[in-house]
């Protein structure tokens, strides 16, 4: 295969994909009104869940089971990455493992930015019921802080035991809260087992902030465990 055909193949594939999307776009007419499900969510969310962010109310309460499934998929991914990479031993320290030193700019920037990024991640998942964002976004932001620390100092080691404790206790509490919803409120993962509070304050919307904090911790721990497993594999000899 010569050079030009190798470059032409992705372009042809892209054009095919683009024509499929164009066919979708050409047949699209925007709805004049909300459909029945959407109008139900738009009108009933505030009374039923007390959440200011309708998207969060749908993700955590109305479609809470799907979210539990998504978190489980992410957990399985992290577990499989850990399982596949577990057989290779980590290089123990700086000496002999051949780490290139990271630049002064990266090291100093990391020291300054990591606390801010962690704080922002926590802010995003704690305010999920009020502002855009939530557990998944906040967890990814927390994990990017861990990634920055790993980039600036590849010899850094994080406690796997701590990460897996955080991950499993968050997941367990999430399921227990869901079961409590079956006992004390309308069904699995119903958010009304705690009082709905005043609309728009941080401690409102029942159990939604708690669930999103747990999801944030769980997602952050899962991404961090994937990243640290990738970092700690032994270099090929």
């Amino acid at each position: 295969m010569n050079f030009t055909t190798r470059k032409a193949i992705p372009l042809v594939l892209l054009l095919l994909l683009g024509s499929v999307f164009y066919a979708l776009f050409a047949g699209y007419t925007p709805d004049e009104t909300l459909n029945r499900t959407a109008s139900y969510y738009a009108s009933q969310t505030v009374q039923e869940t007390g959440a200011q962010n309708v998207v969060t109310a749908i993700i955590v309460t109305y479609r809470g089971l799907d979210t539990l499934g998504e978190v489980t998929v992410l957990f399985l991914t992290a577990a499989i990455v850990g399982l596949v990479l577990a057989h290779s031993k980590a290089p123990k320290s700086r000496s002999g493992s051949g780490f290139l030193p990271s630049g002064e700019l990266l090291t100093t920037g990391t020291r300054m930015l990591v606390p801010v990024i962690l704080l922002f991640g926590a802010y995003v998942f704690l305010n999920g019921h009020l502002t855009p964002g939530g557990g998944f976004q906040g967890g990814a932001i927390v994990a990017s802080a861990i990634l920055l620390m790993l980039l600036s100092d590849p010899a850094q080691r994080f406690s796997h035991r701590l990460i897996s404790r955080i991950e499993s206790s968050a997941g367990l509490t999430y399921v227990i809260i869901g079961l409590l919803g079956m006992l004390f409120a309308g069904g699995f993962l119903d958010n009304r087992i705690l009082p709905l509070g005043s609309f728009g304050s941080i401690l409102s919307a029942g159990v939604i902030p708690l669930i999103y904090a747990l999801i944030g911790l769980k997602v952050g721990a899962e991404f961090s465990s994937i990243l640290t497993s990738l970092e700690e594999t032994e270099d090929a000899q």
């Binding site: 855009p132 964002g133 980039l151 990243l227």
Partner: protein, 83 residues
């Protein structure tokens, strides 16, 4: 409305440009950066389409974590290459 349309069209062209650069550049670093740029433009597009939650996910995972992960792996390949 026309301003919004204009911005969306500009973003679409920029996204396509970044994607083409990612495909055709010979430097891996530039390819990784412009792939991250595609995600960043896409997240701004989601913001214009009034989907801030999706935009945050795209910005955090698509342009943040993935780009960093690529650089992480690149650094690792270089590290092993120097042995």
């Amino acid at each position: 409305m026309t301003l919004l349309l204009f911005m969306a069209a500009l973003l679409a062209v920029a996204t396509l440009g970044a994607a083409l650069i990612a495909l055709f550049t010979s430097s891996t670093v530039v390819a990784v950066l412009s792939a991250g740029l595609v995600s960043l433009f896409a997240s701004v597009m989601f913001l214009l389409l009034a989907a801030p939650d999706v935009a945050m996910t795209e910005a955090a995972i698509g342009s943040g974590l993935t780009t960093f992960l690529f650089f992480f792996v690149l650094g690792r390949i270089r590290r092993e290459g120097t042995k």
